[in-house]
């Protein structure tokens, strides 16, 4: 069973109760060992945190380190005392926390001189004190228990078949006390396996020695402050070396060893010790006689194991005693942060669904838009075919004119050859004319194919003036056929717009044919229309003016609607399609008219950047 050791004590030879609550309380931490050892730091932190909750007095901490493990105290003591006497000559210390036996001994020797009236709280550090020291009057103690037996018990549970036990320890005073305690514990344990003590081996020797241990041995690491050659160590560094070298599991009975590679052990937590120390210091500060039942306190030991070490040596955690705390367990991340993960997943899933929904919606919308666009394009094309029907005469004229010229030229050439005269120059001129007229005819046909062919919508930059130029001959032919006067005005410079050239041609043709229809019945003098391209305020303006009978106000609003027509044979689609086209190009179309006035249809189309720069007439 575990052996505990205890110490404690204190005295209050003449207790000096602190007078005023408002007076600053001064606590001196007197370390017998290196105050920066991990256990010290852990304990110090826990104590301070606890003390803050024990008292509302302002506490100032001082600390002195004797570090007796690494510096032999004997030669230094007079100087140390002289230094401390000077340091504290004008500073009253209320409580001295003596950490380790060395510190308590030092306090017993010099406390009265250095810190008169101070009460002492003894902290048996590293648990290596196995006999309760005689505590000065008024003192209290917090002890820890080096539970070698408990640790071996844990090792046995994990390795029931182990046939060797190796105990590693140093030769410093604390090392020896710990080793002594271990020997006593083992003696009581009825341990059948042979136990070997490796005491104070220098690291270069210890390392291969440990490495030579068979994997099923049990290695107990107590602490090694100093090797047999007097070389000081930081005990945790020694553990690291042992753990690294050893094929057999390594156990430790000190809390800070767990986590550095030791499998586990029966340890007293620094957290609980810090709490007890805080409680004692608080009581000492409060003054009054010590509570006899709470003079010596010991933090409980419990089983702590390192999951990573268990895994390294393939030990079954299920064999550990009930209630054993397994640290550094790699908690699956989803268990550790389950709600954050769940929330994240939910959000991600939600977003994914939203994105999916939006994508599918967008796709549906795009499909619908495509279908609508295709329908619109088809309708526009049908409308162009209708217009082409109306323009048959003009088109035939435009094609037959060059064809007629070609034929007559060819006939003339024929006759010239028959005549037998040398008319080479004339023949050459004829051939040139034939070529030119052929090109002219094919251009007309090409333009018609552009207008009527089944083609994809284009989005290109083009000059609105050119659209008018390209169709001018056909429009002229049609105007002549109908006996309508035609005036065409282009804008100076370039009016570059972006879109589908054919559709804009359609807009022009539609407006022109409408205008020609509008003047069909008016007296000859008024039977004229005017087509113009100009730069407007918001873009290029294509205007078609006629001097027909005008549009009744009640019709004007309905003009651009589908299936509305004032013509006896009209389908009522032309202007509706025209408006759709203009609006698809980001423009607008409107009409100004009244009965008896000129009617002007105007389509305004946004200019691209290029034309804004090149137009010589900025608006």
């Amino acid at each position: 069973m575990a052996h505990a050791l205890i110490t404690a004590l204190v005295l209050c030879s003449f207790a000096v109760p602190l007078r005023a609550a408002e007076e600053e309380a001064r606590v001196l931490m007197l370390y017998g060992l290196d105050p920066y050892l991990p256990p010290m730091l852990a304990m110090d932190k826990a104590m301070r945190a606890n003390l803050a909750s024990e008292t509302d007095r302002r506490i100032t901490f001082f600390s002195e380190a004797l570090d007796s493990q690494r510096f032999a105290m004997e030669g230094l003591e007079p100087e140390t005392v002289a230094l401390l006497a000077k340091k504290y000559s004008t500073l009253r210390i209320h409580v001295v926390v003596a950490v380790s036996r060395t510190a308590l001994d030092f306090f017993e020797r010099h406390g009265e001189q250095l810190w008169p009236g101070a009460r002492v709280v003894f902290v048996g550090f590293l648990g290596y004190e196995f006999r309760p020291p005689a505590l000065p009057p008024g003192a209290s103690a917090v002890l820890s228990i080096l539970d070698v037996a408990g640790t071996i018990d844990i090792a046995r549970r994990l390795q029931p078949g182990a046939d060797r036990i190796v105990v590693v320890s140093g030769v410093a005073e604390v090392d020896r006390r710990a080793e002594q305690q271990a020997r006593e514990a083992l003696a009581k344990l009825d341990e059948r396996a042979p136990v070997e003590f490796l005491s104070g081996l220098p690291l270069p020797e210890l390392e291969p020695r440990v490495a030579a241990e068979p994997p099923d041995s049990i290695v107990i690491y107590l602490a090694q402050f100093r090797d047999r050659d007097g070389r000081p160590y930081e005990p945790h560094d020694v553990l690291r070396t042992v753990v690294k070298a050893s094929r057999a599991p390594v156990y430790g009975a000190v809390e800070t060893l767990i986590g550095l590679g030791a499998v586990g052990g029966s340890v007293a937590s620094y957290e609980s010790r810090g709490r007890l120390i805080g409680e004692q210091v608080g009581r000492a500060l409060a003054g009054g006689p010590p509570d006899p039942s709470r003079t010596v306190l010991a933090a409980p030991n419990r089983c702590v194991a390192d999951a990573r070490a268990l895994q390294r040596w393939s030990l079954d955690a299920g064999r550990l005693p009930n209630g054993c705390e397994i640290r550094f367990k790699e908690v699956p991340i989803w268990r550790q942060y389950w709600w954050q993960i769940a929330l994240t997943l939910a959000i991600v899933a939600g977003q994914a669904m939203l994105i999916g929904a939006l994508l599918s919606q967008r796709r549906r919308r795009r499909l619908a838009e495509q279908a609508e666009q295709a329908q619109r394009a088809e309708l526009a094309r049908a409308s162009r075919l209708t217009m082409a029907g109306e323009l048959t005469g003009a088109i035939a004229h435009e094609i037959n004119q060059p064809l007629g010229a070609i034929l007559s030229n060819a006939d003339a050439a024929d006759l010239m050859l028959d005549s037998g005269m040398d008319r080479r120059d004339e023949l050459r001129a004829i051939l040139a004319d034939i070529r030119r007229d052929d090109v002219r005819a094919s251009e007309v046909i090409q333009r018609l194919r552009d207008l009527l062919g089944q083609q994809k919508l284009e989005r290109k930059e083009f000059d609105l003036n050119e659209v008018v130029s390209e169709l001018e001959s056909i429009i002229r032919a049609e105007a002549r056929r109908r006996g309508v006067g035609l005036e065409v005005r282009r804008a100076p410079g370039t009016l570059a717009i972006m879109g589908d050239r054919v559709q804009i041609q359609q807009v022009l043709l539609n407006l022109v044919l409408n205008a020609m229809d509008a003047v069909a019945e008016v007296p000859e003098a008024r039977r004229t229309i005017a087509v113009s391209v100009a730069k407007g305020e918001n873009g290029a303006v294509l205007a078609v003016r006629d001097r027909g009978r005008g549009i009744a106000p009640e019709h004007r609003t309905k003009l651009f609607e589908s299936f509305f027509s004032t013509k006896p044979t009209g389908m009522g689609l032309g202007l509706s399609i025209t408006r759709t086209i203009v609006e698809a190009h980001g423009g607008r179309i409107w009409v100004e008219s009244g009965p008896g006035e000129d009617t002007v249809f105007q389509a305004e189309l946004p200019l691209t950047m290029a034309s804004g720069a090149s137009s010589p007439h900025p608006a």
């Binding site: 048959t392 005469g393 064809l403 034929l407 007559s408 003339a412």
Partner: protein, 206 residues
């Protein structure tokens, strides 16, 4: 006065016009081109046999309108219409107004030259008729007032005695005047005189 025919070509399309003029030239015709009806009208029209090749659709007044204007002015130039696209209404109107032919471009050489020949033939006929009528008018103008009175009454189918009574002259005088009229008008019988009266558009017996 030259008797070689002159063919007038009115077409606003210069390529077409040039080609037609070339063809006519190569076919041995003298031809002259005009770009519009106005252009044609402002040029002096030489008194030569000929015909008009007229585009139906022209800027400004159309071919049909020129046809009507010439008709009004009594210019009897036979017209061959040419068009890039013939529609029934126009062709009917043209033919009713006396066009020689109505051709659609592109027109074949033989068709065109044939139409031109027919137009020239018609022109020749018309000119001949017109010249005959002119000569008759000259002869008629050589009649004395008394002889014209006798002429009118002869073609009205009256007898010498009736004429003498109406004019208050001797029947013998009437007879002498009648011989004079027949000689001056180169007529052999009263029936001849009746035909001449029609040509001269003198009032005849109703």
């Amino acid at each position: 006065m030259s008797t070689a025919p002159l063919i007038h070509v009115v077409d606003d399309d210069s390529a077409m016009r040039t080609a037609l003029l070339r063809l006519l030239d190569a076919a041995g015709f003298e031809a002259r081109g005009y770009s519009s009806t106005g252009d044609f009208l402002v040029q002096p029209l030489p008194d030569r046999p000929g015909c008009l090749l007229l585009d139906l659709r022209l800027p400004g007044p159309s071919g049909l309108e020129l046809q009507a204007a010439l008709e009004r002015q009594g210019i009897m130039l036979p017209i061959v219409f040419l068009t890039g696209h013939a529609d029934v209404a126009s062709s009917v109107r043209a033919m009713k107004a006396g066009a020689v032919d109505f051709l659609t471009k592109p027109v074949k050489r033989d068709t065109l030259l044939d139409a031109v020949q027919r137009a020239l033939a018609r022109d020749a006929t018309q000119r001949a008729a017109r010249e005959g009528a002119d000569r008759l008018h000259v002869r008629f103008a050589s009649l004395t007032p008394r002889q014209r009175e006798v002429f009118d009454r002869i073609v009205a189918g009256k007898l010498n005695k009736q004429i003498a009574d109406e004019l208050g002259i001797a029947e013998r005088t009437v007879k002498r005047e009648r011989e004079q009229v027949m000689a001056k008008l180169d007529a052999n019988s009263a029936a001849d005189l009746g035909r001449l009266a029609e040509l001269l558009q003198r009032p005849t017996a109703r």
